[in-house]
């Protein structure tokens, strides 16, 4: 069935935008600081309902083993919720990305929304049929004075494949900055990059 002209135009515009800003071949899947194994995921099989791998790497201050596990779990959950809301979840294609930043402070959400083409799938949302997670890794560095975790840097890496008009492997990596107040971890800052490349052996539908 021929696609509507408006969608073809929009796809071309998005491809151009990706080429200009995202770096068509700007990265491979190796060597990331959040990686937990040296092997490439270029051939990894998509895993349905993939769970995030979250682990505490460094602690400034003191934190018991039990609390380390709790911090890894809770920070990992916050990051994973953002992965789902911003990139992986929901129906595709759709017109709007919606609220892609759960767990962010009001100010951080405002900043992230301003950068939504990077901090979410806003650029692709109308031109893909679906996404499949390839890798979800979170490594946490904890600030824990007086044995109480107060802040954390979540070094993350999310790799996913898109299907549809734009079939790409997307690699999002960087840091989310969190503080723990009133028992909840909230994201107050971010520093991230994204790269995309065509998927090997896959042509756009």
């Amino acid at each position: 069935m021929p696609r509507p002209a408006s969608r073809r135009t929009s796809t071309a515009a998005v491809l151009l935008a990706l080429a200009l800003t995202a770096g068509a071949c700007s990265g491979d899947d190796d060597g990331d600081e959040a990686s937990d194994s040296p092997s490439s995921d270029a051939t990894a099989q998509p895993a349905p309902e993939m769970k995030v791998q979250s682990r505490v790497m460094t602690v400034a201050g003191e934190l018991s083993k039990r609390k380390r596990r709790v911090v890894a779990r809770d920070v990992g959950a916050v990051v994973d919720r953002w992965f789902d809301a911003a990139y992986l979840g929901g129906d595709y294609p759709r017109k709007h990305i919606g609220d892609a930043w759960p767990g962010f402070t009001v100010g951080a959400r405002r900043l992230a929304k301003r950068e939504r083409t990077l901090t979410s799938n806003a650029l692709l949302v109308d031109n893909i049929d679906g996404v499949e997670a390839v890798r979800k890794v979170v490594r946490v560095d904890v600030f824990s004075p007086k044995r109480r975790p107060a802040g954390a840097t979540a070094r993350f890496r999310l790799v996913y494949d898109t299907t549809g008009d734009i079939a790409r492997r997307v690699d999002v990596r960087g840091r989310l900055l969190l503080t723990r107040t009133q028992g909840r971890w909230r994201v107050f800052g971010f520093d991230m990059v994204r790269s995309t490349r065509p998927r090997k052996g896959v042509e756009a539908s």
Partner: protein, 304 residues
Amino acid sequence: MTTRPVLVRSLRTAALGVVLALTMLLVPNSSVNPTDSALVRVPRAEGVDLSPDVIWILALGSDARPGQSVTRSRADAIQLVGINTRTGAATSIGVPRDSWVGIPGHGNEKITAAMYFGGPKLMAKAVGDLVGIEPDYVMVSSFWGLRHMVDAIGPITISSPVAFSDPHLRPQGFRKGRQQVGGMGALAFSRTRKALLRGDFDRSANQQRTIRAIHAKIRAKQAKPGFIEKGVLAVLTNMDAQVPPAELYRIAQAITQVRPGRITTCVVLGGIGNVGGASVVFPNRSQARRYGHDARKDATIRSC
């Protein structure tokens, strides 16, 4: 026809030729395999939420000796630091410690005495009255606190505009230009006064150079896992920062977002005088106010 236009034209032609030659060398023809090299802009998104967008921190170096209260001694270094989390700009306004000002409840005194009389809050009031900006936070560090903090992050690179030495603090001195120093060197660089041509004013400027150097070090190492967390812990241990740890952590992360090219620093100047036998600085109040007015909303001073 004179020789000069011909020469100019020849130079232009030669320059154009060089540019074209370089362009041919550097920009491959489209028929050449385009994957041999590439220049790709990797888009980056960054931001830190710290309300309000511009925060002001009064950074004080206390001259407390071991056993003395850090927050009830005189302030040897007085820097009012503004950070704009929206633009990544930052500024530091240096106030000479001997500035002769009105201190609420204590008449006219050297501004350094405000902390001795009333702790960090009175110091914040005195600096706020002079510059016109009330700081949001006051952070007080002792001599050894600064030394330990610099030692914790590793050597920093300071840039001295002149060579100078101090027989007590740094007999071997500092040479003109960039040099690496550890905690002790950073302390000597920030404290030495008598060896400098403009005394207190130049010392205040050197304190700002130390702040820049510390910031550059933090920026360079911020991506190292756990570096910021360890740094904040060192600050908490060595500085009397009367804010919750989570808030301190947010401030520290905001500092890492400051861009070196957007840092401006100025020192409040003034005349040297004598009051009751003591050497004092009569600060240029209109200049201090101008700095405050200029930087209040965006943490940027256009010119000193």
